[in-house]
């Protein structure tokens, strides 16, 4: 199978877009941006004349890093670099600022990422400040739990686990039974929600750099992870290894692990001849389960979003969007894919900072064999 993509919409936001979510009818988007939470009504097609304007409907005290929407479109969850998780009651036409129904201080540092479980019972959020813990700048263990599971109704913490900071991404499996998180050092852990047990942990060194030139510290790590549709395997991606941590030229790379094996085993990874360079920070499975997408920033190569066959792992489609992608979402019917992210922040123009956050929509066509 080969995928062809056609851009059908591009919508701008004042500042960088770090996450977004969509209702099933994809008539709206809710965006977690550096300067707050936005709602955007999406037209069926982009006519380039009457661009919809995003409405700011809430905010945090710092960058909003994550956003999630209940299936009935009435509850909007957000988490931010202020360490807080909010819940807001909304409806399909909310366009004014909405105060949170609850507002919980979950972490003393950033919420790097927060997710809602598919059964909508749980919210998982991860944190951790990277502080020097040794002469070689190995991270210092955190004094507080870095992975937290909350009930989605009240935001109360149910489980708290500790991984080495900084824990940069989290996911919950399709069955809503397992939480997985990963960090700067390439550590991955899977926790069982019912018991609170850590059921698997391992380290992959493919995503972390220690600067043998320029800087003797750790940079990069895993920035996104997701379970396969059957929950049996786990995919991770991030910043591939770099000799110069400040170069941003890590290999575009995903790895797939059989996390139920003891010890967990890497069973698949992206093919080197399919990939280029750049931080990858988004993963998403197509609703059919036949393929998945990985996206981020293009540093070198042909694409910043790649689509991979879930059996062979080969590249079957690609897009070069000209922006850093932070989130990928497929529409529920699988006919469209949305990319959220940002370009570089422009300098002041006529006394204002031009928009630099973007949401893009692409129509997917499944063509013949690759």
């Amino acid at each position: 199978m080969k995928l062809e993509l056609k851009k059908t919409g591009r919508y701008s936001f004042p500042m960088g877009l770090l996450d977004f979510c969509l209702p099933a009818n994809v008539q709206r988007a809710y965006a977690a941006c550096m300067d707050g939470i936005y709602a955007l009504d999406l037209p069926p097609a982009d006519n380039n004349r009457d661009k919809p304007v995003p409405k700011r409907i809430g905010g945090h005290d710092s960058y909003v890093s994550s956003i999630a929407l209940s299936a009935n479109n009435t509850t909007l969850y957000s988490a931010a670099y202020d360490g807080r998780v909010h819940s807001r009651a909304i409806n399909e036409s909310t366009s004014d600022s909405v105060e949170p129904t609850w507002n919980e201080a979950i972490h003393s540092f950033w919420s790097w990422q927060m997710v809602l479980s598919p059964d909508e019972k749980w919210l998982a959020s991860v944190t951790g400040q990277y502080l020097a813990g040794a002469e070689d700048y190995t991270p210092q263990p955190s004094s507080e739990a870095t992975v937290k599971l909350m009930d989605a109704v009240q935001g109360k913490v149910i489980h708290a686990w500790n991984m080495l900071p900084s824990v940069q991404c989290v996911t919950i499996d399709p069955s809503s039974k397992y939480v997985a998180a990963a960090n700067l050092m390439g550590d991955v852990a899977v926790y069982e929600i019912e018991t609170g047990r850590e059921v698997a942990t391992w380290r992959t060194k493919s995503f972390t750099s220690w600067g043998i030139i320029k800087s003797h510290c750790y940079i990069g790590g895993i920035f996104a992870l997701m379970f396969s549709p059957d929950s049996a395997t786990l995919y991770v991606t991030g910043m591939g290894d770099m000799r110069d941590p400040m170069a941003g030229n890590g290999k575009q790379l995903w790895q797939r692990f059989d996390w139920k094996k003891s010890p967990p085993e890497k069973i698949q990874e992206s093919h080197a001849d399919d990939t280029g360079e750049g931080l990858m920070e988004a993963l998403a499975f197509h609703p059919s389960g036949k393929y998945f997408a990985m996206g981020g920033r293009l540093r070198g190569g042909n694409w910043n979003v790649g689509f991979f066959d879930s059996d062979s792992g080969r590249l079957i489609g690609q897009a070069k969007t000209g922006m850093r992608i932070t989130t990928i979402r497929f529409s529920a019917d699988g006919q469209n894919v949305f990319f959220g992210g940002m370009q570089g922040q422009p300098g002041l123009k006529d006394g204002k900072f031009p928009d630099f956050g973007y949401l893009e929509r692409f129509a997917i066509t499944e063509a013949g064999d690759v």
Partner: protein, 444 residues
């Protein structure tokens, strides 16, 4: 056995096989440029006030934040502005003055520091900017201006002192542009003898311990032979590089006595806990120790980790808290030891970082409006000088370039900023060119 320098009371110093000078690398660092630049040792006549300063033992620690830190995440936060980044700001001990929330310790001692928020320079690339901010002037080939450290080593130091007068502590031998800088000519027209001794990473204080199978008598005989041959060669070849080479040998002899001072493991564990565990902190502790024991200028670098073109916030979350703690501890210790009045502490990089973020989560080079801090010798504490506009895009008041900064530094140390170098066959050079004025508001 060689006679070791007696350390000050801050640490029990013993020789350590892992902390010895690697002579070849040491020579690489110290001799660089010696063949191409003449040595003019002694040509800079010491005026009376410099002699007075020498008696007072003035010295300087430069915390060189190589790669260039973000002013937004350190000294000049812009809360609520599109340029602010994700970190908040916190009030300092000076009413109305805020610093980044990543600097809670420095916020409590800001009245001991002086911050310039209006640095404005014109070099946008590392190598040129490092050169500019460590020498005070852009290059004027074929003449090479000495680094601040070399000038101070010459002015305040003693060549025959066994403790190196100019020390560069840096664990990272490479570092792209900084690597080229490190391989360059540090002491310029002052001569290689005023270049730094380098320590850290692959630069060990090694090969300065006399091997057990070499007796003191044999060692002395060999040195006498080397000295004799050197003098003969010098007489036949009147070259500055030969003088510099001999000066290096003299320094190695001094290092044989001073090597134990570089033994980090010998420093008190409580001090290591306060400054460490990162190398930058430990090297700052070592800088304090070396200054206490007779060094004049110690430059503490750590590769160039501040060059955050990618992951600016993700890297500053780690680097700034370390800097915050290290500055706090250093000023505390210097103050407690009554050394702050005679020791100038400089905290700076080669420029700042852009108000806007790039696509890679980074901030890029920005010389247009940036910050640095200083404390101690001759500097009025608690002054926040200059300001940037609401977004930190440009300097709003009191711009400071490298000349005014260097004029202020020299004046604070009791040196005449306008002193001329009397170099035969050279144009007239001044310590600070174009009569740039010291910043009066910053001088104690």
């Amino acid at each position: 056995m060689p006679s070791f320098v007696e350390p000050c009371a801050s640490g029990n110093v013993h020789g350590h096989v892992d902390h010895r000078l690697h002579r070849r690398l040491f020579l690489q660092g110290s001799m660089a440029g010696a063949a191409s630049v003449a040595s003019f040792q002694g040509l800079f006549t010491l005026p009376a006030y410099a002699q007075e300063a020498q008696k007072k033992g003035k010295r300087c620690i430069l915390l060189w934040l190589c790669g260039a830190p973000s002013q937004f995440e350190t000294w000049d936060p812009k809360p609520g502005r599109p340029t602010s980044g994700p970190f908040g700001s916190i009030p300092s001990v000076i009413p109305g003055v805020h610093v980044s929330s990543l600097m809670p310790k420095c916020a409590t001692i800001l009245d001991k520091l002086t911050v310039i928020r209006s640095m404005k320079t014109d070099q946008n690339e590392h190598f040129q900017a490092i050169d500019l901010l460590t020498r005070g002037e852009p290059p004027r080939p074929p003449f090479t201006r000495p680094l601040l450290g070399s000038v101070l080593a010459q002015q305040f130091g003693q060549l025959d002192h066994p403790v190196p007068q100019f020390v560069l502590l840096d664990p990272c031998p490479e570092g792209n542009e900084f690597r080229a800088f490190k391989a360059g000519n540090w002491a310029g027209w002052l001569g290689a003898e005023y270049g730094p001794v380098r320590y850290g990473g692959q630069y060990k204080i090694e090969n300065v311990i006399r091997p057990d199978d070499l007796s003191e008598v044999d060692h002395a005989d060999r040195e006498a032979l080397r000295s004799f041959l050197s003098k003969k060669f010098t007489n036949d070849h009147q070259e500055a590089s030969v003088k510099s080479y001999n000066a290096i040998f003299e320094r190695v002899k001094g290092l044989m006595k001073a090597a134990p001072l570089f033994d980090l493991n010998a420093l008190p564990e409580a001090d290591r806990q306060r400054y460490g565990p990162g190398t930058f902190g430990l090297h700052t502790l070592l800088a304090r120790h070396l200054i206490e024991n007779g060094s004049t200028f110690v430059m503490v670098a750590n590769g160039m980790p501040w060059d955050c073109h990618v992951f600016n916030h993700e890297t500053h979350q780690m680097l700034v808290p370390e800097l915050d703690r290290v500055v706090f501890e250093l000023l505390h210790d210097l103050s407690e030891r009554a050394m702050l009045d005679d020791t100038l502490v400089l905290i700076m990089g080669e420029f700042g970082r852009t108000p806007h973020l790039n696509e890679a989560r980074g901030r890029d080079h920005y010389p247009n409006a940036w910050s640095m801090a200083m404390a101690g010798c001759g500097i009025k504490p608690g002054v926040i000088y200059g300001a940037t506009d609401e977004n930190g895009v440009d300097v709003a008041e009191n711009p400071v370039d490298q000349r005014r900064l260097f004029a202020t530094i020299y004046k604070a140390l009791g040196l005449d900023p306008y002193q001329t170098y009397d170099l035969p066959g050279f144009p007239t050079f001044h310590r600070v060119e174009q009569n740039a004025a010291p910043i009066a508001e910053l001088l104690a």
